[in-house]
Amino acid sequence: MRTAKATLIWVAIALVVAVPVAMAAASPLLKWRDAIYIVAGLAGVLGFALMFVQPLLIGGYAPGVPRDKTRGVHRLIGGLIFAAVAVHVVGLWMTSPPDVIDALLFRSPTLFSPWGVVAMWAIIVVAVMVALRQSLGFSPRTWRAIHTALVSVTIVGTAVHTLLIEGTMEPISKAVLCVLVVAVTVKVVADMRVWRRRARRR
């Protein structure tokens, strides 16, 4: 019974991630784009969809992952998201360098660009902090507060970036993904009471 429930939850998680990616991969716009542009766009969609899994792992909503393995899986998926962002930005730069340079310099005509660029910088800082975690020497509580603040910027920035784009994502699956990613993040951050000065005793 427990296994069945765990399986169902994982199927649901897989669907939340896979459906928007699959629908973007079926977009009619793709037939007018070259391979690099297609990969760049889909990497962005996949990176955003994977953000749904991250708070679930930390909040203990992903069944079947042993407590001691949670962090490792969270870090692995975090690495995938970071790689997806890199492929997204580099691929778009290869497709149209001036558009990406405008975005990075915050002078783009498109409203969604600065949201994406701020989200990118936040996740770069997250990645650097993860790489240097040992030497930074933050207490777990401080680490959690900083990490939560930064990934919140990435999640909100990416959600707005995505919603404002007229691109390959199918509108309904895009809206649902945005709501779900933001909702689980808010739920887990609230559960963990990140903003509390002292960790809650259990």
Partner: protein, 162 residues
């Protein structure tokens, strides 16, 4: 007494004329400025390829890019002006040479060039247009289609002498 009244009347008329002249004098500079020149739009020059050839049609056509070119100030239509057009279409990405073409304005300062259907790229369905022939200041436009399903798009230039 009568002459004094006439003088006063004359004075009033003259004064009124001075006031009217002054008011029109204030208005004149604003009217002389007239039609303001179009400013280049952010990102307008992205993926520009200098020297796009003048063509009857870009690729297979099916989509109409139309617009006008006028002189700043008096708004006189400018004929024979070369307008370059490019976009991400069903036949190529913005950078591809086959996505670029140019046309000339007619005697009424109007231009229209048939091109393949524009499709959304980099988050918006949009086109790029350039005037850079040198007689007037260079202007790059980046109009956005209200809907990706539209089969035409307008862009208007008001140019000032270089």
């Amino acid at each position: 007494m009568t002459s004094a009244m006439l003088d006063r009347r004359r004075l009033l008329v003259a004064g009124g004329a001075v006031v009217a002249a002054g008011a029109s004098g204030l208005l004149l500079p604003a009217m002389a400025q007239g039609l303001q020149p179009t400013r280049s739009m952010p990102g307008g020059s992205n993926n520009y390829r200098p020297g796009a050839p003048i063509v009857d049609r870009i690729g297979g056509g099916g989509f109409w890019m139309t617009g006008s070119v006028r002189r700043a100030g008096d708004g006189v239509p400018l004929s024979g002006q070369r307008i370059q057009i490019w976009a991400h279409t069903t036949e190529g990405q913005e950078r591809d040479p086959q996505s670029h073409g140019a046309t000339l304005t007619d005697e009424n300062g109007l231009f229209r060039l048939e091109m393949p259907q524009i499709v959304p790229t980099f988050g918006q369905p949009h086109a790029h247009l350039a005037y850079d022939s040198g007689t007037f200041e260079t202007v790059f436009l980046r109009p956005i289609m209200p809907s990706a399903r539209d089969t035409s798009l307008e862009a208007h230039f008001v140019l000032q002498p270089a």
